[in-house]
């Protein structure tokens, strides 16, 4: 019994991954309770809010106070903006909301980064002191570590979500949420709390007042999404990470060009399968509770241009950056030079959002420059005529490799590591090792080939597979789900790997 209680408590090393059995037991309990409340929207929302707060406590411990703080601040500011008549006051309230949210984000995410930059500037070692923990220790008499600032789970996602809310209220795009419980539910809805998709009040809040209307077809659509997500994460992403990608990126200069090449392709697959797999599960779980989350990925590796890529990759973030950063900066309304600057700034900050590291900034800059170049080229009529003649497959191949090069910047921890990896890559043309590598790595190679085939299956075929699954008899579907889960369990070689986007 005490062991069961122990499981229910916050454990930093065991958050509620969708890939843990514990999550599904948790979800089963949630569904059991939900059966009593799902008919009445106010009760239903309150119930899910409590469940979500517990979920966050389990993953983030004391940090759930920050979630509550952020929720309260933005709830009252939202009402304040709506009710105040003076434009001046509305502006100040909006500024306050943005300052608070970005303040939380900067304090927890970028304190070390800023201390590092300052250290380099003034040549004096800067120490980070966690003043929040210090204050908390004074108040509560607890002994939290004050020399460390840990990143609260999902802080990058929920702060962006609350910013989008207050901005939308300011722009009069949405009416403020009247009940605090409903607003808290919007901020902390647990399937998407930890790593998105970032939901907009305009599309989510109306769902709070609609009655539960989930039909059989949607349930099995959700089951299909969850199953696909688990396959992507457990069968592909984790397998490739543990058996190939991590070890090569750890020590690129120890490996030949061919191995480095395979590892970089492996990472391109891994990050897509990891994040889109997570999103699929999040969307599926939310749907099973009767809520519809926005699509976050739309076959990004089928993009035929860089802009196209960003319309397909992590859509909820790129559209957030577009609506709340790029357009307020001025978007494309100030001539092509200013537009280029706006794109660059947006992408640099978008890169920095992924973490406090120069590699992410560099990655953002890389994508920004590519987008700007793409824009310039599109303005040339003869270029457009030329692009039209290129077969689609060739375009996809080319864009995929531009993105792939970006992932090398993204994944390597330091510029030195990146350079040594790029230095090894030309060695791929020495075929001495290929056969030997394939012999000992045939399983990894097989997974990679399968992965790429799945990526590039035509959409119509994917739809038919999904439709086919939904149309199967009940017991047959259960059998398929069971066999996939057991297969994943067998292939799994190590402990569960956390989702990549949990740390952003």
């Amino acid at each position: 019994m005490s062991q069961i209680l122990e499981q229910l408590r916050y454990a930093a090393d065991q958050p509620l991954f969708f890939t843990r059995l514990f999550f599904w037991i948790f979800f089963a309990v949630v569904l059991a309770g939900y059966s009593f409340f799902y008919r009445k929207p106010p009760l239903r929302n309150a119930y899910l809010l409590i469940v979500s707060l517990y979920f966050y406590y389990k993953a983030g411990g004391l940090f759930f106070l920050i979630l509550i703080f952020s929720t309260l601040v933005d709830y009252f500011i939202g009402i304040g903006i709506h009710s105040s008549r003076s434009q001046q006051k509305r502006k100040w309230l909006l500024a306050l909301s943005i300052t608070v949210n970005l303040g939380i984000l900067f304090y927890f995410k970028y304190a070390y980064f800023i201390a590092d930059i300052l250290t380099n500037l003034v040549k004096e070692p800067m120490q980070v002191v966690n003043i929040l923990a210090l204050a908390w220790n004074h108040i509560s008499g607890m002994h939290l570590d004050i020399h460390h600032i840990a990143l609260p789970v999902g802080v990058s996602f929920f702060t962006f979500q609350t910013i989008s809310y207050t901005v939308d209220v300011y722009r009069k795009k949405v009416a403020p949420v009247k009940s605090l419980a409903d607003f808290g539910f919007y901020v902390s809805f647990f399937p998407q709390l930890v790593a998105g998709p970032i939901i907009r009040a305009a599309s989510f809040v109306p769902q709070l007042y609609q009655p539960y209307r989930l039909i059989r077809r949607e349930v099995w659509h959700a089951a299909f999404l969850i199953l696909a997500g688990l396959i992507k994460k457990l069968l592909f992403a984790d397998f490739l990470a543990v058996n190939l990608v991590d070890r090569v990126f750890e020590n690129p200069s120890m490996y030949s060009g061919f191995e480095n090449m395979m590892a970089t392709y492996g990472y391109a697959l891994q990050i897509y399968f990891d994040f889109s797999g997570y999103t699929d599960i999040a969307i599926g779980v939310a749907l099973l509770l009767g809520f519809r989350l926005p699509v976050n990925f739309n076959s990004p590796y089928k993009a035929t241009g860089m802009r196209d890529f960003w319309r397909r990759w992590h859509i909820s973030l790129s559209s957030w950056l577009r609506d709340y950063l790029y357009i307020p900066l001025g978007g494309n309304r100030h001539g092509s030079f200013r537009t280029g600057i706006h794109i660059l700034v947006t992408m640099l900050l978008g890169g920095l959002w992924h973490g406090a590291s120069w590699q992410f900034v560099l990655w953002g800059a890389y994508h920004g420059v590519l987008l700007v170049i793409g824009r310039w080229l599109q303005a040339i009529p003869s270029w457009n005529a030329f692009v039209k003649k290129i077969p689609r497959g060739l375009k996809v191949f080319f864009i995929f490799h531009l993105v792939w090069l970006g992932w090398i910047i993204f994944r390597t921890a330091t510029p030195g590591q990146m350079v040594s990896m790029l230095h090894e890559l030309p060695g791929v043309f020495n075929p001495g090792l290929w056969v030997q590598w394939l012999k000992s790595y045939w399983m990894v190679a097989l997974m990679m080939v399968t992965g790429f085939v799945l990526l590039w299956l035509p959409d119509s075929l994917k739809e038919r597979i999904r439709g086919g699954f939904i149309g199967l008899p009940y017991w047959f579907k259960i059998l398929i789900i069971l066999s996939v889960l057991l297969l994943a369990k067998e292939i799994q070689t190590t402990d569960l790997q956390p989702f990549i986007y949990f740390k952003f």
Partner: protein, 320 residues
């Protein structure tokens, strides 16, 4: 409209979860893989405060079976990295002189002399003896060669910044294993240690410009406090200072702290059966010394074989 109520979903979920749970619980060999079902393992949070004499958790890390020498045959292609590979900071050339001599030696040419400097961790030849045995078994002397020499040079109380270069026959490799004497320093800024280490390594290089140097990082070290065992918070900082020195020169670096398992590992090694660390939560036992020697040997051999493979794949002879 045909609504699908939550309890129906629940029934389906249970239908799926029951067989999976049963499978995890009943099929042997699956329990240890699943994080949350595994109650015997010690979670990192617990390790930070292991009761001094916890009877229940007195189960150590799985000691890897000593790598059989068959698996590291000459020129065999081994793609699986060791538990903790040697770090080169992008420059594998730093151990190249040693690898070249090792390759020549395996062809029956030349001699190998390795100097293993260290603090009290190296006393009684606790680590070096096993490293020596593994190397000598891996590279048996041929005809008129003498066996690979691995000299054990313990300097009690030293931080590895006061060593006098040896003027004997030029060594092929210098291993420096220090750090525990800095752990109790009352500071969090170890940049002075980085600078002193760099000076020391330059002193070695002044005598033997082409010597390969491998810096072994500090090991985890713990103390008892209120009936619990805590790792010293300075250990990772010292490791970082050592990494910084290795990166700047550059020389090869082997992260012993990470190999042991990072924060809390001294406690885990102490609670292992047999104990890998002695009562003082600092010094390795002979079993611990053997474990470290084996891991270091694996890391060295892996780097060596990677070096041979890379030269082969560039269709050059290793001895060019």
């Amino acid at each position: 409209m045909d609504r699908y109520p939550p309890y129906k979903i629940l029934i389906t979920l249970v239908l799926i979860a029951l067989p999976v749970t049963g499978y995890l619980l009943l099929v042997p060999g699956t329990q240890h893989k699943t994080g949350w079902l595994n109650q015997t393992g010690v979670s990192p949070a617990l390790i930070n405060a292991v009761p001094a004499m916890a009877g229940g958790t007195r189960k150590g890390p799985d000691l890897p079976v000593a790598a059989d020498t068959e698996s590291v045959k000459k020129n065999s292609v081994d793609f699986t990295p060791p538990r903790q590979p040697i770090e080169f900071f992008g420059d594998t050339a730093v151990l190249e002189p040693f690898f070249q001599q090792l390759y020549h030696y395996s062809q029956g040419l030349g001699q190998i002399r390795i100097l293993h400097y260290g603090d009290s961790q190296l006393e009684e030849d606790r680590i070096t003896r096993y490293l020596r045995a593994r190397l000598q078994a891996q590279f048996p002397a041929q005809e008129d060669q003498t066996q690979i020499q691995v000299e054990n040079i313990p300097k009690r109380g030293s931080a590895g910044i006061d060593l006098v270069p040896d003027h004997g026959p030029p060594p092929s490799l210098i291993i420096m294993q220090f750090g525990i004497n800095v752990v109790r320093a009352r500071t969090r800024d170890f940049s002075y240690y980085t600078r002193a280490l760099i000076k020391q390594i330059h002193r070695f290089m002044a005598v033997n410009p082409h010597v390969s140097i491998l810096l072994v990082g500090v090991s985890d070290m713990a103390h008892r406090e209120a009936n619990a065992i805590y790792s010293y918070a300075t250990v990772p900082l010292i490791r970082d200072a050592q990494v910084e020195a290795a990166r700047k020169i550059p020389v090869a670096f082997w992260d012993l702290y990470k190999m042991m398992g990072g924060n809390g590992s001294a406690a885990r090694w102490y609670l292992a059966d047999p104990p890998l660390i002695r009562e003082d939560m600092t010094h390795f036992s002979f079993a611990g010394g053997e474990e470290i020697a084996n891991q270091l040997f694996d890391a060295l051999m892996w780097a060596y074989h990677r070096w041979i493979i890379k030269f082969n794949s560039n269709s050059n002879e290793p001895d060019t």
